[in-house]
Amino acid sequence: MKKSLILSGASALFLMSMFNLSGCSSVQPWEKQNLAKPEMTFEGDRLDTSYTEHIYSSKEGASGGSGVGGGGCGCN
């Protein structure tokens, strides 16, 4: 219970700080050509990611982090 409260509080603080990060200027739409490249997104190759994350989560004690959803398996 204490662990979850500490983690939740730290999470909220960090999220708020992300929103408050402000610089002198923000990136304008005409400056975003590099950001539009596929390698600059966080999705990646859907099938590659699916295989890779499935392998790691079925052979390690940890899983998840980048998204929720998707099925489980009895992988051994």
């Binding site: 739409p29 590099n34 600059m40 980048s66 929720v68």
Partner: protein, 406 residues
């Protein structure tokens, strides 16, 4: 009190590690836009894992374990500029076996014949479908998934949404998912102490909150928090001795940073994840890859990954008797309610490296090949004490893919 101090220190360290990736001073998100093209793709996986007895304690334990051949398909279609539908389908074919305890206790050759002993079924089919609605400053996605093998069925639904600021430099993500699993416990290979006609059931709820932020014209970062609550059947039907708690809560903090280098036109993709659960497992995972486009449509992506985890609270290490004679597992501590000798719940470090090569063939065709090598070792753990009685674990996998946009 000591436990709270340890937790505070660990959380603080995780946040510092995340902050380190956010250091390039923020100047100012990247919102999903409705896709303009449909895409179909196919990918084949050839996977092989093994264990190697490289030390005095594990000498003689080297052997092959599991082989997997898998074929998956995906398709995504945009509709009317405001919707998209995406689906994937996969078939896995699995042969081989995993140990019943630590790195020993493999089923006999006869039991291995049906390829399900120590492995969950011979064939697995899975699919998922996601429908996404695109708004001017956000998205809403509804997903469903289904996975079936001879002894395990998993069904899931999920709802994910994003909301961006007007300049689209900051995006908030929220997601929730529910999974319901059914585990058959009447298969011949299930250990006798767990055999029963009624199946085991597991229900898992998870939630995500995240922020994606454009920092510069060449930098984008993401910070995600997830919480998962599960209750039901968590023990492994094919492992003995193995009795696990009937609930498992998991937390993750993940930071990702993509940086584009204008000179070489390459992109570094870095991520760090901290994981913690009520089994007692704590893990740190670092991922790094570099995407380098070359001439004539070629692209190289080398990658490295390091993962370190502590052991579950109820993990039982290899004892002296089992070291001398691996044919008998180490007895759990007297009176222990929960215990497991599953290598995956031990403390270890894992290092992997790989390379992906892709080629744009023109006319919207893309082919790719990826190779990865992975190894777990007890003495590579940086946040716990590994079990020297467990053999090193190795993975080698190759992926071959092809896709086309319309």
């Amino acid at each position: 009190m000591a436990m709270v101090s340890t937790t505070k220190t660990t959380v603080f360290s995780a946040l510092i590690a995340s902050a380190a990736l956010l250091l390039p001073s923020a100047k100012s998100a990247y919102a999903d836009a409705a896709p303009e093209q449909a895409i179909v793709g196919m990918k084949y996986l050839n996977y092989h894992d093994s264990q190697s007895g490289d030390t005095a304690q594990t000498a003689g334990m080297s052997r092959d374990r599991i082989n997997v051949n898998a074929l998956s398909f995906m398709g995504m279609v945009p509709i009317a500029g405001k919707w998209s539908i995406a689906a994937t389908f996969i078939e896995d074919s699995i042969t081989g076996a995993s140990p019943a305890y630590h790195s020993s206790g493999f089923p006999s050759a006869a039991a291995n014949h049906d390829a399900s002993s120590g492995a969950s079924g011979e064939l697995r089919h899975a699919g998922d479908l996601t429908v996404t609605r695109y708004f001017s400053r956000g998205t809403l996605s509804l997903g469903t998934s289904y996975s079936q093998e001879s002894d395990y069925i998993s069904r899931g639904v999920s709802l994910n949404g994003t909301l961006s600021t007007e300049d689209k430099n900051t995006t908030l993500s929220l997601g929730t998912a529910y999974n319901s699993d059914t585990i058959s416990l009447d298969k011949p290979a299930v250990v006798s102490s767990k055999q029963q006609s009624a199946p085991g059931r597991k229900k898992v709820f998870s939630g995500l909150v995240g922020v994606t932020r454009v920092l510069s014209k060449n930098d984008i970062v993401q910070l995600n928090f997830t919480y998962t609550h599960g209750h039901g059947y968590y023990s492994d039907p094919y492992k003995d001795p193995d009795v696990r708690p009937d609930h498992r809560n998991m937390y993750t903090v993940m930071t990702r940073w993509n940086h584009h280098f204008e000179g070489p036109d390459g992109t570094a993709r870095l991520s760090y994840r901290y994981y913690s659960d009520t089994f007692g497992v704590r893990a740190h995972t670092f991922d790094a890859e570099y995407v380098q486009p070359l001439s004539k449509g070629w692209e190289l992506t080398p990658m490295v990954r390091f993962h370190s985890q502590s052991a579950a609270d109820f993990y039982v290490p290899v004892g002296p008797a089992e070291l001398a004679d691996p044919s008998t597992p180490t007895p759990p501590p007297p009176g222990a309610a929960f215990f497991s000798e599953d290598q995956r719940l031990s403390a270890f470090g894992a290092f992997s490296y790989g390379m992906k090569v892709s080629k744009d063939l023109g006319r919207s065709w893309l082919v790719d090949v990826k190779y990865e090598h992975y190894q777990q070792r007890y003495n590579w753990c940086i946040n716990g004490h590994g079990d020297p009685g467990v053999a090193n674990f190795n993975i080698r996998d190759i992926q071959l893919g092809i896709s086309r946009k319309f």
